[in-house]
């Protein structure tokens, strides 16, 4: 006898993501999921973003395989920070984020950031229920990475090119990147920032504020 199931493997994660989304909607929190390879500048971008947005109540879920170093780096700029150590697992899942939303006082924040595990592949597969998914690409990684890891850019709402102060030392072609990104995802918002010079951080933060306002008035 043949029994048809047609059951999706990621269905459980999708359901959890949907629950997180309802919780966030009810409490008006804007959740931002940052993904990018190790060293792409996720923690540095968060540090400077939190500093600039210090007028808001902010919270961070900091994902790392081991250690709480990044959480400690951010603790002076943020009202609340929760460290997750996945002990080897390469991505975060919606169920665990939901557990934290229920246990910790995260829903009293206005802006909730998630620093995902450094990886351009798996985090793109797991919806966390976030409002916006942002993928980081540092100029030292090369402008061809969207061609090589297109899914991460396809499922993102914004891309942030980081470390633009290093552009003079890298053969990074911003025009080519722009052209490739338009083809992969025509709705992708693009930012270029440097945490060393502060370039571009203003535009990036203004965009976040605009999204927060829109969510609150929805």
């Amino acid at each position: 006898m043949r029994v048809y199931l047609a059951k999706e493997l990621l269905e459980a994660n999708q359901n959890n993501a949907g629950e997180n989304r309802s919780l966030l909607r009810a409490s008006g929190v804007l959740m931002v999921n940052l993904i990018g390879s190790p060293g792409s500048g996720k923690t540095a971008l968060l540090e400077h973003t939190l500093k600039k947005l210090s007028g808001y109540r902010t919270a961070v879920i900091e994902g790392d395989l081991y250690t709480d170093e990044d959480a400690r780096r951010l603790s002076s700029w943020c009202n609340q920070i929760v460290q997750i150590n996945t002990e080897g697992s390469c991505h975060l899942e919606a169920g665990y984020i939901g557990h934290l939303l229920a246990q910790e006082n995260l829903l009293s924040a206005e802006l909730l950031f998630i620093e995902n595990i450094g990886n351009l592949v798996c985090p793109a597969e797991f919806d966390l229920g976030e409002d916006i998914r942002v993928v980081l690409l540092s100029v030292t990684e090369g402008n061809d990475k969207p061609r090589k890891y297109p899914l991460a850019f396809k499922v993102a709402d914004a891309a942030v090119v980081t470390k633009t102060d290093l552009l003079p030392y890298c053969d990074f072609n911003l025009n080519q990147l722009n052209e490739d990104l338009r083809k992969i995802n025509e709705n992708l918002a693009l930012f270029t920032v440097s945490t060393k010079t502060g370039e571009g951080l203003g535009d990036w933060c203004k965009w976040l504020e605009k999204l927060l306002q829109r969510k609150r008035s929805a």
């Binding site: 199931l5 047609a6 059951k7 990621l10 061609r147 396809k154 992969i184 995802n185």
Partner: protein, 83 residues
């Protein structure tokens, strides 16, 4: 099982995992089959049917980006069969 072509689920990894999971259980004799399914859609601009291929997932005829890649990302258990 059906694995969408754009799912990042590797056929070989799935077979390896399933084969090891059932060792020493009542399912140890089970056969698993994983078929990879192409992701296709009808172009919103020129109506041509095309295969969504990385890196750009664009229509090869007119260059319009695919509307959604979600179908091609699905991995699911289609059916099981036994006595």
């Amino acid at each position: 099982m059906i694995a969408g072509e754009l799912s990042s689920a590797s056929n070989r990894a799935l077979m390896f995992a399933l084969g090891n999971l059932v060792k020493g259980t009542v399912l140890s004799e089970a056969n698993f089959e994983v078929s990879v399914r192409e992701a296709r859609e009808k172009c919103r601009a020129c109506s041509r049917e095309f295969r969504l291929a990385p890196p750009f997932f664009c229509c090869p005829a007119c260059g319009k980006p695919a509307s959604s890649i979600e179908e091609g990302r699905k991995v699911y258990i289609d059916y099981y069969e036994g006595e």
